[in-house]
């Protein structure tokens, strides 16, 4: 049984690991490979700040709320282990700021210690009049992808650098199941008018005194268009850019100024921070994640595709729940083909 995962961002690698962990022991013939044209540090995952935080409003697909929760619980159980830093995981607390009171988010009990801000807290942010404080997790994209790559390599999964032009090409190569984790570029394999890039630009600075995340919200502008500051393991990510439909992967000076002015206004201590990197990424924006099976029809091929793309700006936040769901779909394929020697492991 040959499985080809296309895409080596967080979605591709975590789905690969999830499936391999669950099915290798009951499917000795499992031969898994990862095909991608970009690997860490060149994926969109590498640009992400890595804070686990779903969008404020409830997702169109209620399953996504479950996937967010499953991901948080899974990462929380790993953050207390001795090798947490090696995986790229850390607990981080911080502030969400608003211009007016809004209802608590549906994920208030998923994160830890959720509370609304007191007047003294708000004294620190004169432009804002309402907010939340809570403890969440960061998953540093680069470190996490490296860790996933190490785990997959240990398991004998092979990596190939190649640009896949079509599902057909992969099917003719012998793939029985294709896991499509091509993110924002999924449209080149199969047109998807619902998928668009949500271009983001970030500045990474050296500001080790910043121990909290600060995320501002401006409902008039929309998600990610308001300044945010997110400390990572080494550097602090400054952001606040979201441009729907913009495919440019080049840093833009106006965006740089927007981010810098917005974040320094929010946190004056950043003025002296040294810039260590500036990056652009394309969030794979879609009204909801495409996570479903599709049977391909080519000549004599019997290839199944499991699509897993369109995670917008919350890929790291939701990745494990999606990987579990993709693994369930994979299990169904095996059942249908009567490939399992014993009942599938409990997911």
């Amino acid at each position: 049984m040959r499985v080809v995962v296309i895409g080596a961002g967080v979605i591709g690698l975590s789905t690969a690991l999830c499936i391999h962990e669950r099915y290798r022991s009951v499917l000795p013939s499992l031969d898994m490979r990862v095909y991608a044209d970009r690997f860490t540090p060149l994926t969109n995952t590498d640009v992400a700040a890595g804070l686990c935080q779903p969008y404020l409003s409830d997702p169109r697909n209620p399953q996504e709320a479950d996937w967010n929760q499953q991901t948080f619980d899974y990462l929380l159980s790993r953050v207390h282990s001795p090798n947490a830093a090696n995986v790229g995981l850390a607990l981080v607390s911080g502030y969400n700021l608003f211009h007016e009171a809004i209802p608590d988010p549906s994920w208030k009990n998923t994160v830890l210690g959720f509370r609304t801000l007191t007047p003294r807290d708000l004294d620190m942010f004169p432009d804002y009049s309402y907010g939340w404080f809570n403890t969440s997790l960061i998953v540093e994209g680069r470190r996490y992808l490296q860790w996933l790559t190490e785990r997959l390599t240990e398991r004998g999964v092979k990596f190939f650098q190649k640009k896949v032009e079509s599902f057909e090409e992969v099917a003719r190569g012998g793939a029985d199941v294709i896991i499509n984790c091509t993110g924002v570029w999924a449209g080149s394999l199969q047109p998807d008018p619902l998928l668009q890039p949500g271009r983001g630009q970030i500045i990474k600075v050296d500001a080790p005194w910043m121990k909290h995340f600060i995320i501002t919200h401006d409902p008039e502008k929309g998600i990610y268009k308001s300044p945010y500051i997110i400390p990572g393991i080494q550097a602090v990510t400054l952001g606040g850019i979201f441009q729907l439909g913009n495919w440019s992967e080049v840093n833009n000076i106006q965006d740089h100024n927007t981010i810098w002015e917005g974040c320094c206004r929010l946190e004056p201590t950043l003025q002296d921070a040294k810039i260590v990197a500036e990056l652009t990424g394309l969030r794979p924006v879609r009204p909801q994640i495409r996570l479903e099976r599709e049977r391909l029809r080519f000549a004599s091929s019997n290839t199944e595709v499991i699509h897993n793309y369109g995670h917008g700006g919350y890929g790291l936040t939701i990745h494990w729940g999606c990987a579990l769901e993709a693994a369930k779909l994979f299990g169904k394929i095996l059942e249908e083909r009567k490939l399992l020697k014993m009942p599938p492991p409990h997911l």
């Binding site: 207390h80 001795p82 607390s93 210690g113 500001a207 080790p208 005194w209 393991i233 201590t269």
Partner: protein
């Protein structure tokens, strides 16, 4: 007293730890027409303050009324909070940090006196306590960290800017300062055992480890105060010990192992910490609490007013600004009415 009302009052501040420098600062602001000289054998990074993590979590001084302690803490917190929210924060080494104080049994006092001085104080939720299986109760809050290796040089720079002189010299006897100075402010900490002939003063030895673990963003303090993890700008400080009457400034390897092991039990990811450095500090412990008192030394017809300001034990940084303001008031009274030596009672 030889000065006339025309000459500036010459004030010597003995000691350049956090108490000496902050007192010099407060005196310079409160007392008009004075010239101040800070005299010390040790400056940052070689003072006792430099070893301290500088977390704003106050200690109780047995003979100090709680309202006084609270006032000192609040004054210090407000002073540092303003710095933390300004562009000076990075230079001054002051930043906010959130975290948890945890207890293995429910403490007699569930809400400490300083709960409304720090930010966002609340009890930990069950979900938060899961991180600490040996602990049954905890406080979650946001406080300040004031790092002496940055704060002291920052204070020194400001003092020099307002015309305060800084002199490196070891004073063996306060009379050495007569007649060059009109008032002496004694901020010599443990040195007061000799300089003020205060036989009650003794060291409370503390050993700590400075490690690299930048993924740790929260403080964790065991309610007993003996085990703590304090993340800072350039390192994480792990502690600690409380060894009464121990003058040994050399680190003890077995104690280091014990500290590391206790801290890893609370934060397993510390096992990945590197670049571990041992440090020792001798807390200036005074059983009766902080000595804030004016003493009129007299010998062979000579008179020398001394404002004593020492004995802060474990809590120096937490209350330094509040006690410095009080010491400055004592100096001011001294300068205004030098010929009526009314004994000032100890606070």
């Amino acid at each position: 007293m030889v000065s006339t009302s025309m000459d500036p009052v010459r004030i010597a501040v003995v000691g350049a730890g956090v108490v000496g420098l902050s007192t010099a600062m407060c005196v310079s602001k409160l007392v008009p027409r004075c010239s101040i000289t800070v005299i010390s054998d040790k400056f940052s990074p070689d003072t006792t303050s430099d070893v301290a993590a500088g977390m704003l979590i106050p200690h109780v001084y047995p003979n100090t009324p709680i309202p006084t302690l609270k006032q000192w803490f609040r004054e210090t917190f407000d002073h540092l909070f303003a710095i933390a929210n300004s562009a000076e924060a990075g230079d001054a080494g002051v930043h906010l940090v959130s975290g948890w104080q945890i207890f293995q049994s429910i403490p007699a006092e569930e809400v400490p006196f300083w709960a409304d001085v720090v930010l966002g104080f609340r009890k930990m939720t069950k979900a938060e306590l899961k991180k600490f299986p040996q602990h049954v109760f905890g406080h979650a809050f946001t406080t300040l960290k004031c790092e002496s290796p940055a704060y002291l040089p920052w204070l020194e720079k400001r003092l020099k800017g307002s015309g305060v002189l800084i002199l490196t010299r070891r004073i063996g006897d306060l009379w050495e300062l007569h007649p060059s100075f009109d008032v002496v402010v004694n901020c010599s900490g443990l040195g007061s055992r000799q300089l003020a002939q205060d036989s009650e003063m003794f060291p409370m030895r503390g050993q700590v480890l400075n490690v690299q673990a930048p993924w740790v963003k929260h403080f964790i303090r065991d309610g007993s105060g003996l085990t703590y993890i304090y993340p800072g700008t350039s390192n994480v400080i792990l502690g600690g010990t409380r060894q009464q009457g121990d003058w040994n400034l050399s680190p003890d390897a077995e104690i280091s192992r014990g500290i590391f092991s206790r801290c890893c039990a609370l934060e397993p990811s510390l096992q990945g910490a590197c670049d571990i450095r041992e440090k020792v500090g001798l807390r200036p412990f005074r059983p009766a609490g902080v000595r804030l008192q004016t003493e009129f030394l007299a010998q062979d017809g000579r008179r020398l007013p001394v404002v004593h300001h020492y004995g802060h034990g474990s809590g120096g940084i937490s209350v330094h600004w509040g006690t410095a303001l009080e010491a400055a008031r004592l100096v001011s009274e001294c300068v205004q009415a030098p010929r009526t030596p009314t004994p000032k009672s100890n606070l």
